[in-house]
């Protein structure tokens, strides 16, 4: 489909922009209103993470296809401090916890596919995808 959006994350307002764009893209892909909200929430968590720990980064939104199904893919990258212990960060039960990667477990719960690549001192890339149930 070729629908692709690159969004800078450097300030507060960018978090809102990113999740609203995510919602719009999800709507184009035919997601239900409930699923659009879920996608927007996941983007919000990830974007905020970038802002809080890397100060700035980028989110790329795109439509993806897998045979019959359509989906939304979100790739969040930053050149921040990186996550020292990804496994532990992913174990952290709830989003009310503080510390690097706090929003990750929550976002993972919302998405169908979720992957974290992080190198301390270099940065972090988070890739997540939600698939629309084929009808």
């Amino acid at each position: 489909m070729g629908e692709e959006l690159q969004l800078p994350i450097a300030a507060d307002v960018d978090v809102v922009e990113a999740r609203q764009q995510g919602r719009a893209l999800a709507a184009v892909a035919g997601f239900s209103s409930g699923e659009q909200t879920v996608i927007a929430a996941a983007i919000s968590e990830i974007a905020r993470n970038i802002l809080m720990y890397a100060k700035k980064g980028e989110i790329m939104l795109s439509l993806v296809q897998n045979g019959d199904r359509q989906g939304v893919s979100i790739i969040a990258t930053d050149q921040g401090p990186g996550i020292p212990d990804i496994e532990r960060a992913m174990q952290y039960g709830y989003s009310t916890s503080h510390g690097v990667g706090a929003g990750l477990p929550g976002a993972k719960r919302l998405m169908d596919e979720f992957n974290v690549d992080s190198v301390v001192g270099q940065g972090t890339t988070i890739t997540m995808t939600k698939w629309r149930r084929a009808i």
Binding site: D12, V15, G34, Q36, T37, R48, S95, T96, G106, R109
Partner: protein, 132 residues
């Protein structure tokens, strides 16, 4: 984006009009705390009907507001969480436990009235001759 805060009797009503940034939410919290402290406020209503998403920061902020308001003797109730937003919240693991949540403004006012009455009755001395 400034959130308008209205006064209705002894209650404050903050009506969120659109999507808020984290900074906006923080400002709202400060503004509410300041106003609750200033006046003899018994209750705070935060109307989130227009919020597109309630993520961890929003929930933390609302909890802070409720906590601080309670320290100053005021009850807080969140009204207007949308069905989709509520569903996304619970999937994220955010439950707003400990904070009253009701459907809409009407219910919010009814809730605060009940709570105010209850707390009033609570504080009254229990001698029958005093009733009336």
């Amino acid at each position: 984006m400034e959130v308008p805060i209205l006064r209705q009797g002894q209650y404050l009503i903050a009506s969120i009009q659109s999507a808020l940034t984290d900074a906006d939410l923080s400002h709202l919290r400060e503004a509410l705390i300041a106003q609750v402290g200033r006046s003899r406020c018994r209750g705070v209503i935060v109307d989130v009907t227009a919020l597109d998403v309630m993520d961890s920061f929003a929930v933390r902020t609302l909890r802070d507001i409720a906590h601080m308001a309670r320290l100053r003797g005021a009850e807080t109730v969140i009204v207007g969480i949308q069905p989709d937003v509520a569903f996304a919240m619970v999937q994220l693991g955010l439950t707003l436990k400990g904070v009253a949540t009701v459907l809409d403004l009407e219910e919010g006012l009814a809730f605060l009235n009940r709570r105010t009455e209850e707390r009033y009755l609570e504080t009254k001395p229990r001698r029958p001759s005093d009733r009336g």
